[in-house]
């Protein structure tokens, strides 16, 4: 009964989000393998891989890059599609679809928060982009295969193992596979909200975050934006944010667009409508002014943190 109550307590939009993640797990993974099956691939590796073709090697020529992209042609299309949607609508792939990040999140949410590791207070951006640059340049140069620490292998193999595919079990029992599983537990299942792997180690997350931040300054793009004058500083959004993108600065919520996954969770819990997934109003000037004073001024939906002081200087 406790479980049913807990499910009932989930806000409706989040129920849809969880359902989409469960659906994408069945579409992407064994035993159905529907989407990889369309291109005759048994997993998310090889020609579907979206994590390898941009690795940098000293002395790499445009021809080499082209041939890498040709090998992983489907992966290139998928990543381009992800980045384009991110630019306009925020990180839809990461938050709503990605089964590799979504599964640990859902599993983590079923455990009590008491016995978890809280990663959200760590300096996310330096760690993520530090590791990302090591992943891009140093690891290939040193001969550490990008495939060894990859959740896009680990999680499909778990599903393989449960679907009776011996390949899955073989990976899960190998030394590399066991360490990957351990990391899945530590950075996924036993992390608060289960998104630590996405935040620290996932290269797709790192690229997606950059594109998200890039598009955030434009007014027409949809992002999680805060209306500062409505924020009461109750910090419920920051506590519920699965990525740790919301930080209370001077008791007002501030969203870090490098980390935000547009999951909408903060919007669902805010009682004051101070945070929303939306574009900024197109007309910046308030409509009703009298003697220089705004009456019912238009909300200042901000995606990127702007201090009131610097805002005053601009105007």
């Amino acid at each position: 009964m406790k479980v049913i109550e807990a499910i009932k307590a989930i806000p409706n939009p989040q129920k849809y989000r969880y359902s989409i993640i469960i659906a994408s797990c069945t579409l992407f993974f064994s035993p159905f393998l529907f989407l990889p099956g369309l291109v005759d691939n048994p997993d998310l590796c090889g020609k579907v891989c979206i994590r390898r073709f941009y690795l940098f090697f000293p002395g790499i020529s445009p021809g080499d890059v082209a041939s890498k992209m040709q090998v992983a042609a489907i992966g290139v299309y998928i990543l381009s599609f992800i980045l384009i949607t991110t630019f306009f609508f925020g990180r839809m792939w990461c938050g709503y679809i990605c089964p590799v990040g979504g599964l640990p999140e859902l599993v983590s949410r079923t455990f009590s928060d008491k016995w978890k590791i809280e990663y959200r207070a760590l300096p996310q951006v330096p760690i993520r982009y530090g590791y990302f640059s090591v992943y891009l340049t140093l690891m290939p140069m040193l001969g550490i295969s990008a495939c060894t620490l990859c959740n896009f292998i680990t999680i499909p193999r778990i599903f393989d193992a449960f679907s009776g595919n011996p390949k899955g079990l073989a990976f899960a029992l190998s030394a590399v596979g066991l360490v990957n599983l351990a990391l899945l537990f530590l950075l996924g299942f036993f992390a608060t909200k289960g998104r630590a792997y996405c935040q620290f180690l996932c290269p797709i997350g790192a690229i997606d975050g950059l594109v998200n931040r890039l598009g955030a300054k434009l007014r027409f793009t949809r992002r999680i934006r805060v209306e500062r004058s409505r924020c009461t500083g109750c910090n419920i959004c920051a506590r519920n944010c699965m990525t740790g993108a919301i930080k209370m600065v001077d008791r007002i919520a501030v969203v870090d667009q490098l980390s935000c996954m547009t999951c909408h969770e903060c919007v669902d819990v805010c009682d004051w409508g101070a945070i929303d997934w939306r574009a900024a109003p197109l007309d910046e000037d308030p409509k009703r002014k009298k003697k220089g004073i705004d009456f019912h001024p238009q909300p200042q939906w901000q995606a990127v943190y702007v201090t009131p002081a610097s805002k005053n200087k601009q105007t």
Partner: protein, 419 residues
């Protein structure tokens, strides 16, 4: 003589084109088929094994050597009936087919020479094919020619339509330079097949290697011989499980899904020459020797940047990583070195944390959880409260209660907003 030779060559070419259905066009100058085409031509050999000497004419004529008369290879057979031992074939002999530009008889000598120098060329291949078939199948660890090359179809069935279509245009396309009926008639088809592509793709090559190397029980019996001292030593798990570890790499996974940019076994182990010279890593001429690795990886369409000096560690990426193979694999000899791997050490470090967190979650789920906990998370909960929420952790609040008399900065900002 010239006429006979011409006729034979014409037959070779016709055999190439209509490989599958032209059985009746092939003569059998030595009359071997008068007996060997009979069904049920079986005998029991010295080892007591029932063996079949029947040859299906149609299969034979459609095959790679279908146009070569039997005696061209089975040279020791002169009389009828012949001894079984005389059926032996030496693939290093030259055969009657002449290469037009040089006018010399074709021979597999170069391949046989390269192969004999290779790591596979030390064992049963000395007898090459015929005589040792039985022993080869039962105990051999080194393959002979026949072991890998059975008398396959000259053109694979998949490529036959493409071959036929191209053959129709042979006159107009090759004929502008290579004039004369002799060339077009004798070698056009032969060269065309080479252009259309080798009969085997990379997956077929891998399958050939895997016929032996994917069998760990068989591979565990292999002994490697030291060239200088002659000492023999048993192979380790890296060798025994080489096929399995290859399958976990991107090289293997690409080929598994028919993306032909993946590297096959011989792409790295015998990239040069006639592609039979597989050598041990320790040999200086080996393509997989530490000094030659960069060149091997930098082959066309592969890792062109591998020769760059900064990539000297990249070329040593372990493409037969034993850590990708289940540690529970019983076939590989128990080897302590497997436990010395960094991955195992990492696992030993991480496992206790997982057990604590997992056990704690389970116990909390069973017995606790009724009372809502004040602190969230075992590790990092306080840091989150402090840095993200902006609350002081409980124990610090008590200490600083008296100091919090100064106005907080957010109040000032609130005033600014009002203005």
């Amino acid at each position: 003589m010239a006429l006979i030779r011409f006729l034979l060559m014409a037959m070779v070419i016709i055999g190439c084109i209509q490989a599958v259905f032209a059985a009746q066009r092939h003569p059998d100058p030595d009359g071997c088929f008068s007996c060997h085409s009979l069904e049920g031509l079986d005998y029991i050999d010295k080892e007591g094994v029932l063996r079949s000497a029947s040859i299906n004419k149609q299969h034979y004529y459609s095959a790679l050597h279908g146009s070569v008369p039997c005696k061209d290879c089975h040279r020791k057979i002169r009389d009828y009936p012949h001894k079984v031992e005389n059926g032996e074939v030496d693939c290093g002999e030259s055969c009657h087919v002449e290469e037009p530009s040089e006018g010399e008889p074709y021979t597999h000598k170069a391949v046989v020479k390269e192969y004999k120098n290779s790591v596979h060329g030390h064992g049963w291949s000395k007898g090459l094919t015929g005589g040792n078939r039985l022993k080869e199948e039962k105990k051999a660890t080194d393959p002979s020619c026949r072991f890998c090359h059975s008398n396959d179809l000259y053109i694979s069935e998949a490529e036959l339509p493409k071959f036929k279509e191209s053959f129709d245009h042979l006159d107009s396309e090759c004929g502008s330079c290579h004039q004369g009926e002799v060339w077009l008639g004798q070698f056009g088809g032969h060269i065309l097949r080479r252009f259309i592509g080798s009969r085997w793709n990379k997956n077929d090559h891998n399958q050939m290697c895997n016929n032996c190397h994917a069998d760990p029980i068989r591979m565990a019996k292999v002994e490697l011989e030291d060239k200088e001292t002659g000492d023999k030593e048993k192979v380790g798990p890296r060798f025994i499980l080489a096929s399995d570890s290859y399958a976990t790499t991107l090289h293997g996974r690409l080929l598994e899904t028919n993306v032909m940019q993946g590297a096959s076994c011989i792409d790295c182990h015998a990239p040069k020459g006639l592609r039979h010279g597989v050598l041990r890593d320790e040999e200086k001429e080996a393509s997989t020797h530490a000094k030659n690795l960069a060149e091997t990886c930098a082959q066309s369409d592969c890792h062109g940047y591998a020769t760059h000096p900064l990539n000297h560690r990249f070329v040593k990426t372990d493409v037969h990583d034993i850590d990708m193979i289940p540690i529970s694999n019983q076939i590989a000899p128990r080897d302590q070195s497997r436990l010395e791997s960094g991955w195992i050490k990492a696992l030993i470090a991480l496992l206790p944390i997982i057990i604590i967190l997992g056990g704690g979650s389970l116990l909390w789920w069973l017995f606790g959880g009724k009372k809502k906990s004040v602190t969230f998370a075992v590790f990092g909960g306080d840091a989150f409260q402090e840095k993200m929420i902006g609350r002081k952790p409980k124990r610090k609040i008590k200490k600083k209660v008296r100091q919090e008399t100064k106005p907080t900065p957010d109040k000032k900002e609130g005033e600014n907003n009002e203005k």
